[in-house]
């Protein structure tokens, strides 16, 4: 039903091309309303992907967001956005507060924002839901795993940020330092994966802090940067083994992420590359077991606007995971990888609506039973084939 609503909305946008962005006044302050939505369809030749029954073809890929914001004074602004999505077995239309911020900019080089804040991590972490910004229907999953969106998307806390123009025309440095609380929903990829092991998480989250530094270089269009994230996560719930249910807890011994990136835009051409390493040392089942997860992701991408309304893109994405479960009897260290080559065509109907067609050629499937990487044992009970071909069709709108 909700997919139909999104489709109807899309048809309205296509036919009218209307800008539904609204602006009204409350207490003599302008309030803006903006929204976006997308609908995808995925077909894979064999393995089911992203918790959808993609081998049969699945349209269970919908998301939408709606925000309101207002500039209260020259330097003070407030706003909030509600976000809702369905991705196969994940999220399933449980709307959440995506961000809600109060932002005060003292100077161009110093600003402070607090509330629930989108986390700056790499090039596109904070904009990964905004389909209309990207050439690709799915961002490289080695770095932006859509089933693990919850883990890095936002924190409840604050950011210090600013832009510093360097002298002698050396470009601009932009920095963000943040700290806050991560609070995952129960409908994300990690809680879903643990269900296979009889674990039902009721809460998952903890302290998250880090920073980002990016340099818009003197070479016009070239941006380089680095991000760091640290976290101390605790998950609580219940564990059911052999018909007996007891309390379950896991927590971080060490948990961090490093990311380095670069982006170059010249006219109609855009090149991007990122490298991310995620390291997690986790005490499982109240410290009874210990898991060390080492995930490395990298990609290079290129897109080119061949005409006003049409662009092509391609990327090569490389994901490797090494997760030895230490002191867990009968389970041996696992290694996995996913190497994904994607080719995309994007057509912009107008400023507000676009269509995308994308083909993925994937080799490998990670370690499905141990850490989320797109392929889950629950949807692939007959086992997984080594290679996956996926066709993704997607349309999105914004106003």
């Amino acid at each position: 039903m909700k997919q139909r609503i999104v489709l109807v909305a899309l048809v309205c946008f296509c036919t009218t091309g209307a800008t539904l962005a609204q602006e009204f006044r409350i207490f003599d302050r302008r309030v803006q309303v903006h929204g976006f939505g997308s609908q995808g369809f995925v077909y894979t030749n064999d393995n089911n992907w992203l918790t959808m029954n993609t081998s049969q073809g699945s349209g269970a890929m919908t998301d939408m967001g709606l925000n309101m914001s207002s500039q209260i004074t020259d330097k003070f602004r407030v706003g909030a956005q509600v976000y809702d999505r369905n991705l196969g077995q994940l999220e399933q239309y449980h709307p959440s507060l995506d961000w809600a911020v109060a932002d005060y900019r003292f100077r161009p080089w110093l600003g402070l924002r607090g509330g629930k804040v989108k986390t700056i991590l790499g090039l596109y972490n904070d904009t990964q839901d905004l389909d209309f910004l990207h050439t690709f229907a799915l961002l490289p999953q080695s770095v932006y795993s859509t089933d693990l969106r919850e883990s890095t998307i936002a924190h409840e806390g604050g950011d210090l940020y600013g832009d510093v123009a360097l002298k002698r025309r050396l470009g601009t440095l932009s920095y963000t330092a943040y700290a806050g609380q991560r609070r995952d929903s129960q409908y994300g990829g990690y809680p879903y994966l643990l269900q296979v092991h009889g674990i039902a998480l009721t809460s998952y989250g903890g302290l998250q802090y880090g920073g980002d530094l990016r340099w818009a270089t003197p070479l016009n269009g070239l941006l380089v940067g680095a991000s760091r994230l640290n976290e101390e996560i605790t998950g609580r719930g219940t564990l059911t083994l052999g018909g007996t249910t007891g309390p379950y807890e896991e927590h971080s011994n060490t948990d961090w992420m490093n990311e380095f990136y670069g982006e170059y835009t010249a006219g109609k051409l855009k090149l991007s590359c990122e490298w991310r390493r995620y390291w997690r040392d986790q005490a499982i089942a109240s410290g009874l077991f210990r898991a060390q997860t080492d995930v490395r992701g990298a990609y290079v991408s290129a897109s080119y606007r061949v005409a006003k309304r049409f662009q092509f893109g391609s990327y090569y994405s490389r994901y490797t995971i090494n997760e030895p479960l230490i002191t867990f009897p009968g389970v041996f260290p696992s290694h996995g990888h996913i190497y994904d080559t994607a080719i995309t065509g994007r057509f912009d109907v107008n400023r507000y609506v676009n269509f995308k067609i994308e083909q993925h050629f994937m080799a490998g499937y990670g370690v499905p039973g141990q850490y989320p990487s797109g392929f889950y044992a629950a949807q692939n009970q007959a086992g997984l084939e080594p290679d996956t071909r996926a066709l993704v069709l997607k349309t999105s709108f914004r106003f």
């Binding site: 803006q32 903006h34 330097k75 900019r105 989108k118 910004l133 832009d163």
Partner: protein, 235 residues
């Protein structure tokens, strides 16, 4: 005979190419757009980097601390010239840029209008508003800002400098100071326009007369640079 025909054809193609290049080169110069500000904005000039920062929501104030609100056009030649000349982005890239900010809670969508007249009317009544219009547009009720190219000094080397005359009365009264000027230099190096930005008006008049005779090295396009002319009564 065949050779002569080929030569004529080649010359014709070359002529067309030259005309096309000259036309294209003229396409997006600063002359195609005029920066207008609310009369309460205190500055007379704005640097290219400051202008870019304001229109990319990187700053909400000018260098003197006063509030600045960018005002866009929704299309048209002035819009295209402004994006190309000062922001270095296409219209689509600009929409995406603001989309990324608005949907992640980092900025509000700036005001945009369909015509020069609407921009001028909004800028005239809105404190801190800064917009752009085509050169022929009426600027009634708004202040015109001179855009200072930061690369001006290094890119436009001064070849001939004529010293300003020090008005004798002011020298005797030991009245001196520095005069600030906005100098518009053509691609050929000629001084096309000089505007007094600050300083003693009598000294300014003398400085303007001198600077009009200055000659700069050839440049890629018309440039506006800020020039300071000191007047020291002791020398």
């Amino acid at each position: 005979m065949q050779t002569r025909e080929n030569t004529t054809k080649a010359q014709r193609v070359l002529s067309i190419a030259v005309v096309f290049i000259l036309f294209a080169a003229r396409g997006a110069t600063a002359r195609d757009v005029k920066i207008v500000a609310n009369p309460e904005v205190k500055v007379d000039s704005i640097s290219t980097s400051e202008l870019k920062s304001v229109f990319l929501a990187e700053r909400q104030s000018l260098r003197d601390g006063s509030h600045a609100e960018p005002v866009f056009q929704q299309g048209g030649p002035a819009h295209q010239a402004f994006l190309r000349e000062y922001l270095g982005k296409s219209d689509g890239a600009l929409q995406d840029y603001y989309g990324g900010l608005v949907f992640t809670g980092k900025a509000s969508m700036p005001k945009s209008f369909r015509s020069d007249a609407e921009v001028v009317a909004y800028v005239a009544r809105t404190r801190g508003a800064i917009g752009y219009v085509s050169p022929a547009a009426s600027a009634e009720g708004v202040r015109i800002l001179v855009v200072i190219s930061e690369g001006g000094k290094s890119e436009r080397m001064l070849i001939t400098r004529v010293s300003p005359e020090y008005p004798e009365t002011l020298r005797r009264l030991k009245i001196g100071g520095t005069v600030r000027l906005a100098v518009t230099i053509s691609a050929q190096g000629r001084v096309e326009d000089v505007q007094l930005l600050g300083g003693n008006p009598i000294l300014g008049e003398s400085a303007v007369t001198a600077v009009r005779q200055w000659v700069y090295a050839l440049g890629r396009s018309q440039t506006v640079v800020q020039v300071s002319v000191p007047f020291d009564p002791e020398h």
